[in-house]
């Protein structure tokens, strides 16, 4: 755990790439981007070919899987927004526009790896394998997170931002002490990088050399406050150097680039090279939640600019041009997306029916005398109401 050992690790991995430790930790000169906005492949020279920052194209099968999850993610986002408008969900922070980041964050992981999401990362949670209705439980006004984190290796979606990054650090630390090679992807947004726990989590992960990927979706706004008012840093990915870890910037609307960057990050982390910080440039195309009015803080022209960079149409265009997305394949994906959307509609159209007595059940492993008294009090009150 000494500083010396820490430098050794960075220098050995950089040696492997034939670059200096500084060049290993510093993000590539350009944001990693493999697909143009129109879905065509970028020119070779721009395709993440800098020494130590090389990103070969993911395989067609990998891309098809990722696209399928992407299309499902988009459908789920839009279905949930509709359910909120219909009054069937209490609130939904949509990741519409950020689905490529969502999908990559989960697909780069093995089943035994852990994901630490925020409330906007429902599509990542879904992609990690959590059942659709379980993912959305908290947004229908339930008091619990809806799923068993240990069954999916997926933490509850965190509302106090960046607090969960430290939990990810802890999960990785416990695994490391037991000699397991679990990797953790811990997610937050650009605004959350202002939080103290962001700093503490990155620092702890680097000091203890833990396999954690800090994945920042820079969607340009923290509700209404633009990144320029969060940080004077020209790049969030470059913060990595300050902690002694490697950083990278990636086009967050380019699923191909995201898959390449995240898979490499996971591999490096799993090989024992410590944590990495990945900044994905993306855009929250819709308001913060249904309760927000984004017209108060941004121009429609800006939104339109980003709609032109949509991650779903971009990937669709590439796969279509490459002849990978046959009509049959597309039909299958649509069918899958619709089936999940229907599951959500059917589920949300049924009222949550949690017995109020359960409110007292999970405060502690077993109820205290005082909680039992209060539970009885409520039961008595309800019994009298019914009588």
């Amino acid at each position: 755990m000494s500083t010396e050992a820490h430098e050794d690790r960075i220098s050995s991995v950089s040696k492997k790439f034939g670059i200096t430790p500084e060049d290993y930790m510093l993000p590539a000169r350009h944001m990693i981007n493999l697909l143009n906005v129109d879905g065509t492949l970028r020119e070779e020279s721009d395709q993440g070919t800098e020494p130590g920052h090389e990103y070969p194209l993911p395989s067609p099968a990998e891309l098809m899987d990722a696209y399928s999850a992407l299309a499902v993610g988009r459908r789920v986002n839009d279905q949930n927004s509709a359910l909120v408008r219909q009054g069937r969900m209490a609130v939904y922070p949509s990741s519409h526009g950020q689905e490529a980041c969502q999908v990559a964050a989960a697909l780069c992981l093995e089943e035994s790896d852990w994901l630490f999401p925020t409330y906007r990362d429902t599509v990542a949670v879904l992609t990690k394998g959590v059942a659709p209705m379980e993912v959305m439980t908290s947004f229908r006004g339930e008091w619990h997170c809806g799923y068993d984190p240990k069954a999916y290796n997926c933490a509850p979606m965190s509302t106090p931002l960046t607090t969960q990054l430290l939990h990810g650090v802890g999960v990785a630390h416990a695994a490391k002490l037991r000699g397991e090679n679990t990797v953790v992807v811990a997610m937050c947004g650009d605004g959350a990088t202002s939080e103290g726990d962001f700093h503490e989590a990155l620092n702890f992960a680097a000091v203890f050399k833990l396999p954690v990927i800090f994945f920042v979706q820079n969607n340009k706004y923290a509700i209404s406050v633009p990144l320029s008012q969060q940080s004077a840093a020209p790049s969030l990915a470059h913060k990595a150097v300050g902690y002694g870890m490697a950083g990278e910037r990636v086009d967050g609307n380019d699923l191909m680039a995201l898959m390449a960057v995240m898979r490499r990050a996971v591999r490096l982390a799993r090989e024992g090279n410590g944590p990495l910080l990945i900044e994905a440039h993306t855009y929250r195309m819709q308001a913060h939640t249904n309760a927000d009015d984004d017209k108060r803080y941004r121009e429609d022209s800006e939104v339109q600019e980003w709609i032109a960079k949509d991650p779903v149409t971009r990937m669709h265009a590439y796969l279509d041009d490459a002849g990978l997305l046959t009509e049959e394949a597309q039909a299958k994906i649509t069918e899958r997306a619709e089936a999940i959307a229907k599951k959500l509609r059917d589920g949300m159209n049924q009222d949550a029916n949690t017995p109020p007595s359960e409110l007292f059940e999970h405060v502690f492993a077993s109820k205290t005398t005082q909680l039992a008294e209060q539970q009885a009090l409520l039961a008595d009150e309800l019994a009298r109401e019914e009588a």
């Binding site: 852990w114 509850p156 106090p160 607090t163 990054l165 939990h167 802890g170 999960v171 416990a174 503490e200």
Partner: protein, 360 residues
């Protein structure tokens, strides 16, 4: 944050460590600090998933030497230093507890735990509940607290009310050497997160306790449970002093002085603020008919206020006088030269006893 700790006389703990080592061989009295240290060591032996970490707890053995020798004995994977960041320490412990470990972490001083408050209130306290009971957080946050040791500012807070007020946290505070051992073992074995408040001024207090016997009693489940089980520290019949942690010894002193004047005071050490033992407390008050709550923390919206409320709700018809409080004043904890004016004293407790509407 360690810059000012030398004020708490580190030489005392060195001397105590030497004395404790001697005690182990000669069956001499052991200190409160040694009991905690032994409990930690025994918990590391008992369960491979127990890990200890915090600021200066490794090589140094903690500023109060409570983790003394643990890194040397168990290795730096079981007891280690962290960067200086309390939210980070608690946050990382949460993740480790989620993933099968039993972290026992140290906040160096009461007031230095405040940066971790969000992690404690929003996650430590709620993880079990928001996962509908699927995720336990078996972790202990040790906090040296309260004054009486000449500590400078930010080193002497009695912060127990913040944690006791937060549903989902258990709050323990031992007052005897024996309890220091037993309660820490129980806290570490609890499936629930425990905030473990250690009264600083008791670290060097001594008792004739055979820790080996205590350990084997605990492990064989022969020792009585302390959680939610208040202790009658002194039996009496005229009035009840309800207290905990650093104030227990003060209440005992007051009871001794009162006895000399022919007043028999019962002293109840509640041991665990959460869960609270209403039964033992109320049985005593129903018997004596008079009660005073003694606590070092400032009195306004305090644990003492809560105990008064509970007692009058449950024992109203047994009471011969209003339930009184002797607490610290509602002021920031005073400088070392002035702390004696703030701390509840035996004299102040006896003054309160005088006000319990005794019949002439």
């Amino acid at each position: 944050m360690t810059a000012t700790t030398s004020h708490v006389n580190p030489n005392v703990s060195d001397a105590t460590a030497r004395a404790a080592a001697k005690a182990a061989t000669q069956n001499q009295p052991v200190t409160f600090g040694k009991a905690l240290n032994t409990a930690l060591a025994d918990a590391l032996v008992a369960n491979d998933s127990t890990v200890i970490f915090g600021e200066d707890v490794g090589t140094l053995g903690g500023v109060f030497r409570i983790t003394d020798g643990l890194t040397a004995r168990f290795g730096s994977e079981r007891c280690f230093d962290t960067p200086l960041a309390e939210s980070g320490i608690v946050g990382m412990a949460i993740g480790m507890a989620m993933n099968g470990m039993r972290p026992v972490i140290e906040m160096q001083f009461d007031a230095f735990a405040y940066p971790a408050f969000e992690q404690i209130a929003s996650h430590v306290a709620k993880m079990h509940n928001r996962t509908r009971g699927k995720v336990d957080l078996p972790m202990v946050i040790r906090i040296p607290y309260a004054g009486g040791v000449g500590g400078v500012e930010h080193h002497c807070d009695s912060s127990e009310a913040y944690y006791a007020h937060t549903p989902g946290l258990k709050v323990f505070t031992p007052a005897t050497v024996k309890d220091a051992y037993l309660m820490l073992r129980e806290a570490i074995d609890s499936p629930d997160p425990v905030i473990f408040f250690e009264p600083k001024k008791l670290y060097w207090s001594k008792e004739q306790v055979d820790l080996q016997v205590l350990a084997s009693d605990y492990e064989a489940k022969r020792a009585a449970t302390t959680e939610g089980a208040a202790r009658i520290a002194r039996a009496g019949s005229d009035a009840t002093l309800i207290t905990y942690g650093p104030s227990v010894s003060t209440a005992m002193e007051a009871a001794k002085l009162a006895a000399e004047e022919g007043i028999s005071l019962e002293v109840i050490d509640i041991r665990t603020i959460v869960p609270f033992d209403d039964e033992t407390v109320c049985a005593s008050v129903r018997k004596t008919g008079r009660a005073i709550v003694v606590a070092e923390a400032q009195g306004f919206v305090s644990v003492a206020s809560e105990i008064v409320a509970r007692v009058q709700e449950r024992c109203f018809h047994s009471l011969a006088a209003p339930v009184l409080r002797v607490t610290g004043f509602d002021i920031p904890y005073p400088a070392p030269t002035l702390e004696k004016y703030n701390l509840p004293s035996a004299e102040r407790i006896l003054d309160a006893v005088d006000q319990l509407q005794w019949e002439a």
